[in-house]
Each structure stands twice: as structure tokens, then as C-alpha cells.
Symmetry: C2
Subunit: 190 residues, 2 copies
């Protein structure tokens, strides 16, 4: 998608939560970004915007969605600023950072707004502008950990644990939960 058409972004915002992953420049971040994307999908987000050279990440995430079900979209963007700015016209932007206010102190307020939510997930070096553009800077505790865990715990609270029981559509495979070993269910043939 070409961000020359930002209307597309707005067209996606119908009661859904999206994630924006910024700060990725180095190849070594690809696995972390993939994990962020998998968490976004598994924990109930509708899609993720990834910035920069992330075609490998998109392929991997799209492949998971094709096998395990959706809906879940991955959009590779050139810039993060327009995504944040456009989102703020209609919804709110929450930036996850260890420097922010404790999640448990603001979650009720955020949920109560009932607005389209964009969750911004950075890496170690996030530009100050991200802090300024965000409506909320939210900390999942004020200790260093990981953008992967921060996103997971935020979504877990936001969706009040229900996302882990979410059913996915169009899945070809699914897990049958077991005490031991692995069992995969083949839901439809390729």
C-alpha cells in the first residue's frame, strides 16, 4: 500500500485496535518485529503497521495468518509520522514506553474513551516526537523488558483476558490443547 493514500488507513478503523511498530532499522530486529506482529495477531489486534524494510516480516506474518486464521493485516509503511497523525484525527494513540504512566493507573480511562486505538511499539531509541504525538505514554511497569511483552500485557488488560479465547476465521490448522505432547487439528486441506 502507498501511503499517498492515507484514506485507506482511516477506512480500516472500524472498532479495531491496530499496532504501529517503529524503530526498526537493523536486520537484527526482524525477529523481534515478527514476535511483535505475532503478539498483535494472537492478542486480538486487527493489524500491524511496520515501518521500513520489513517485507520478510510481512511474509512470515501473512503466512501465519493464512494457516492459523484471521482477520489480521500487515501493512508495510515508509513513515510512522503520517500513521500517527492520521489516526489522531479519529482515534487515540497509546505509546508503550517504560517512561510512561503505569498501565494500571490509566487503563480504565483509555478503555472508557471508546475510541479507535493505535498502540505504538518502539525499540530502544524512540524519537521524542513519538512521546509528544501520543495521547498516552503508558508503562508496563517502569523496568526495562521488551516491546513484545509490553504489547502482550497491554492487550491482555485492554481486552480483559478475552483475547486468548478468540476464534480465528479461515484457519487451516488449530491446536487441540493437551496435558502432554502436541496435537494439531487439520481444519481444511490445502
Amino acid at each position: 500500500m502507498n501511503f499517498a493514500s492515507p484514506r485507506w488507513v482511516m477506512s480500516q478503523l472500524h472498532g479495531d485496535v491496530w499496532v504501529l511498530r517503529i524503530g526498526h532499522r537493523l536486520v537484527r530486529d526482524e525477529r523481534i518485529t515478527t514476535h511483535v506482529g505475532l503478539v498483535a495477531r494472537a492478542f486480538g489486534a486487527r493489524g500491524i503497521f511496520v515501518v521500513g524494510l520489513e517485507e520478510g516480516v510481512k511474509r512470515k506474518l501473512d503466512d501465519v495468518t493464512e494457516r492459523w486464521g484471521g482477520p489480521f493485516r500487515v501493512e508495510v509503511m515508509d513513515e510512522w509520522r503520517p500513521v500517527m497523525r492520521k489516526w489522531k484525527e479519529k482515534g487515540i494513540v497509546v505509546h508503550l514506553t517504560m517512561y510512561g504512566l503505569h498501565m494500571d493507573d490509566v487503563m480504565g480511562e483509555i478503555r472508557g474513551l471508546g475510541k479507535e486505538l493505535l498502540i505504538v511499539v518502539g525499540g530502544e531509541k524512540v524519537p521524542k516526537e513519538v512521546f509528544d504525538l501520543a495521547d498516552y505514554n503508558v508503562a508496563i511497569g517502569n523496568q526495562p523488558h521488551s516491546e513484545v511483552s509490553a504489547l502482550a500485557v497491554f492487550l491482555d488488560r485492554y481486552f480483559m483476558r478475552r483475547q486468548l479465547r478468540k476464534s480465528f476465521h479461515g484457519a487451516r490448522i488449530a491446536v487441540e490443547p493437551r496435558r502432554g505432547g502436541k496435537r494439531l487439528l487439520i481444519l481444511k486441506e490445502q
Copy 2:
């Protein structure tokens, strides 16, 4: 530490939760393992066993503990089997896997045992033996996501959210939570 002295392991188990990270063989996993370790520390575990060539990971995690406080220990092991086996003599072993029973269905039972807890966190290819040795195979939902998020959400449930308010001892720096921007408190000079 030499695992010829497994008594050391047992000596550590006084009401504490530890994490065992297995499945790391490739350099590209180092960042994921580091994130797993940071989550273990920030979410209340007492330490982590990492298996294999993880000296870089240990340095990074020890550095975080030195600056942000502890207690938190990182032990580099040659083998994961003896860690699991010794632990089972006294405590219980929970293996986090998307193939396991849903966390919310077994958490009460696990917490109720009141035993020393070892949480095993694998990667994509975990040997069947790990499933067999574990007392519980537990899924943080049955969708693919990440060992980083799985560990965070499990510990968040296990400690009933209290871990995010935990105070760390001997810290040189700490965050002052803010609505915007960053503020670090220098607690003691180097």
C-alpha cells in the same frame, strides 16, 4: 557455575521462581533470549538458566541488574535436562507451549501447590522430552506468538499483577513515571 554441583541449584530454591530458557543454538536467537531474561527479571522471577553459548546474554542481563537493581541471577548451563530433573525433586516444572492446556484452566491448581516453580521457555523446536519431563504443559492461548510474551503473561497471572509494582534493591537508576517525555532518577553515583 559448574553443574557438577547441582546442589547449588537446590540451594537457590527458597520460595523463588526461576526460568529455564532452552532451545537456543543460533546467534540470531540472542536478542530473543535477552528479552526473555529481561521479562524474567522485570516480572518477578529470581533468576534464569540459559543453556549454551550465552555469555553475551549474561553480560547484558547482569548489566541491567547492576543498574536497575535486583536480586536477579543469570546462570549459563551446559545442559537443560539436569536442571529440570533436579528441580522436580523439590518443586514443579511448568513448560510454556502453545500445545498445552490453557493457562486460565490450570493457574489456580499450579498456584495452589505452593511449590518452587521452574518455568521452561523454549523456542520453535522443543524436544518431546521437555513435554514429558514437565509437570504442566501450559498454553498462553493456543495461537503462535512468542516465548517473550508467553513468559510475561504467565508471570503476570502467577503473581496476580503485583510484580509490576515490585521494588528492586541496589538500583543506581530508576524511572519517574511521566505523562510525556523521559525522566530518569539517579539513585546513587557510580
